[in-house]
């Protein structure tokens, strides 16, 4: 978990990403100008609540957003230099599951219920790696063992509904890593799982991606989950990144009032539990119904003033590698 080095080339570059949905009820601005880089082998956490745009961001990178009603615009969206915005659907298909993989929240709906687990796993490798026959089967068994599934020969012949949630998620991970991708996006991979399984799955993802040298993006609302498994964190709110820092820095010295509020309001097992919880007033904005002009967090922010309400702040570097988007966090000279 070393800090990323500036000299390394980013494996994924996103700049100025804007994603809109034109729905029956009106236009929805899900991602409002997001920029970040991902470096090889690093583990990035993306934290936020519903409506913040974290899932949509990465679905857009993989071009999995249905194009009408969605629309993706960006100044830059590059994977290893390849332009993801302009790439054809065919090129994208060759990449998905192969160079960039994704694991989703609910393995029950992400797995095909009428195919055995082994078949689905093999399908991917057949497609992207061209493996066949014995080699394919062996690799499949290898993968199932790698993700900690006992008796892989038997499990291969199981159908998704015969497996528990934890096992299914392991299968998803096996599928995602089968072709040795450079990047793994994990979108709330453990939210639907029990605490004991959550822990195991997170550790599994961490160790596997480290061994394979893949970069991981862990998208979640669970701050405990990112604390232990990521090197760097992006905090998103209302479609934008409001803070980004190394994991250690974010937890020890959160600068954005939202980050601070979140950290203060979570009940913790390791602390004395007395009195009331701190809570952020109000609710996250509804991306469909509201048009946001100034800082999106200002209605709920204890520090907000008139300026915040009218002017949207930009990400600024407060400490090395620690950026915040907040008028109050900056020294104020930017106004």
């Amino acid at each position: 978990m070393e800090a990323t080095e500036k000299t390394r080339e980013p494996i994924l570059e996103v700049e100025g990403l804007i994603v809109r949905f034109f729905l029956r009820d009106g236009p929805l601005l899900a991602v409002r100008d997001v920029s970040f880089n991902l470096y090889p082998g690093e583990s990035l956490g993306v934290v936020g609540e519903s409506g913040c745009g974290k899932s949509v961001t990465f679905l857009s990178v993989m071009r999995l957003i249905p194009i009408p009603p969605g629309r993706i615009e960006a100044l830059k969206m590059r994977f290893k230099g390849m332009d993801l915005l302009q790439a054809s659907e065919k090129e994208m298909r060759r990449m998905r599951g192969n160079k960039i993989s994704m694991v989703f929240q609910d393995p029950m709906t992400s797995l095909n219920p009428v195919l055995t687990v082994g078949k689905q796993l093999q399908e991917i490798m057949k497609l992207h790696l061209g493996l066949r026959g014995k080699a394919l089967e062996n690799r499949c068994l290898e993968l199932l063992e790698m993700v900690g599934i006992s008796e892989p020969r038997i499990r291969m012949r199981s159908y998704p509904h015969q497996l528990s949630g934890g096992l299914r998620q392991r299968v998803m991970i096996a599928m995602a890593l089968s072709c040795n991708p450079a990047i793994l996006f994990a979108d709330e991979p453990t939210t639907a799982l029990d605490v004991t399984i959550q822990d195991q799955i997170l550790r599994l993802i961490r160790s596997l991606t480290r061994d394979l040298g893949a970069a991981t993006v862990l998208i979640t609302h669970n701050l405990g989950a990112v604390a232990g498994t990521t090197d760097r964190i992006l905090v998103m709110y209302a479609g934008r990144i409001v803070e980004t820092a190394s994991t250690a820095a974010l937890f020890h010295d959160p600068l954005h009032p939202y980050t601070r509020g979140l950290l203060r309001s979570i009940p913790r097992v390791d602390r004395e539990s007395g009195g009331r919880l701190y809570s952020i007033t109000g609710a996250p904005p509804d991306p469909l119904r509201e048009i946001i002009r100034g800082c999106a967090f200002s209605p709920r922010c204890p520090l907000a003033d008139d300026y915040c309400v009218k002017h949207p702040p930009a990400l600024e570097e407060m400490h090395p590698e620690h950026l915040v988007s907040c008028w109050k966090a900056s020294d104020g000279s930017k106004r």
């Binding site: 609540e49 004991t196 701050l223 232990g228 390791d270 952020i280």
Partner: protein
């Protein structure tokens, strides 16, 4: 069991079994899911008892069994010395005025075709309190203000509110007829993190204000630790440990509780770096055929020979700290 304050609820050996299949036509075998298989606990007046466990442990079924929403197959549920299991029909309906429930999913626990006013007012109509319409409306406004909703929204429909607000509506509904006991079934699990603390605070404030007693169900151990006084841990239909919260979290005795608590991620990178969790072997077995002897033994690292043969019994290992395990 407990001997301090007056008890408002005493559950004795409650079983909630579901029978599936076994149609008379085809003669197929019936499958019995033993969701709750012999659970006993007390709740004292003004207390919050937390009930935790992972999926399939039966905590939600236990909560519904207490309220007779699933009728227990066996056992007694004494609410102020009246056995709810023996009540039927009208008598049970009337009793419901005193026991209410807050549901987990704010998106499906409110009738989408009713306005907020009608939703909150319904319990009043059912139990014939606040007979005149004006009285009921006033009470609804009072409740809305109490839970932090804007009274002018009372003619709106649930889909116009956010998750947190809908949960508040559910809470207002639960309190409408002044119950003494409220079962909270994962009331904040479906809410955003920044809203959870608001609703938790609300639930606590209401408890203090009205001297309510709660049975608080959750899989989130941190939330349960915060809000409860005592906590019971369930596994596969039975309670495996019960203690005052600080004692439980500081000195978990049952191997399952130990594993559970060790798996909770802490929002602190340094602590997380050091944290090692106790991994459990295998998977949670099906509630159709729980393992013989101690239900947990197939996954327990500390199991002994006796664990696979004889079910362990309830032991008070320390004052007020109960465990169901052969190690004690």
């Amino acid at each position: 069991m407990e001997a301090n304050d007056k008890k408002i609820l005493q559950v004795r050996d409650m079983h909630v079994h579901f029978t599936l299949g076994g149609g008379a036509f085809l003669g197929s075998k019936a499958v019995v899911i033993k969701a709750v298989d012999g659970v006993s606990f007390d709740v004292n007046v003004g207390e919050t008892l937390g009930l935790v466990g992972e999926s399939g442990c039966g905590k939600s079924s236990a909560a519904k069994g207490v309220l007779q929403l699933y009728r227990p197959t066996r056992g007694r549920v004494l609410f102020r010395d009246v056995d709810l299991c023996k009540l039927k029909g009208e008598a049970l309906r009337r009793k419901r005025k005193e026991l209410q429930m807050i549901f987990q999913d704010p998106y499906s626990s409110l009738d989408p075709r009713m306005t907020v006013l009608r939703i909150i007012e319904e319990p009043m109509k059912v139990h014939g309190v606040y007979g005149r319409r004006k009285e009921r409306t006033d009470r609804v406004l009072e409740l809305m203000r109490l839970v932090g909703l804007n009274p002018t929204d009372m003619h709106r429909y649930p889909h116009e509110f956010s998750g947190g607000q809908r949960q508040r509506i559910g809470i207002a509904r639960a309190l409408a007829v002044r119950p003494e006991f409220v079962v909270c079934d994962e009331p904040v699990s479906a809410l955003d993190v920044s809203i959870q603390s608001q609703v938790i605070n609300l639930i606590e404030d209401l408890r203090d204000q009205f001297n309510l007693s709660y049975l608080f169900i959750s899989h989130d151990l941190s939330v349960v630790k915060h809000i409860s006084r005592r906590v019971a841990v369930m596994y596969l239909g039975v309670i495996v440990e019960l203690a005052e919260k600080r004692e439980l979290y500081a000195h978990p005795l049952h191997p399952y509780t130990q594993a559970l608590l060790s798996s909770i991620p802490i929002p602190d990178p340094e602590i997380e770096l050091e944290r090692t969790s106790i991994a459990l072997e295998g998977e949670i077995p099906s509630p159709v055929a729980p393992p013989r002897g101690c239900r947990f033994h197939p996954r327990c690292r500390q199991r002994k020979k006796i664990c696979s043969k004889v079910p362990p019994s309830w032991v008070e290992a320390a004052p007020g700290h109960f465990v169901v395990c052969h190690l004690f």
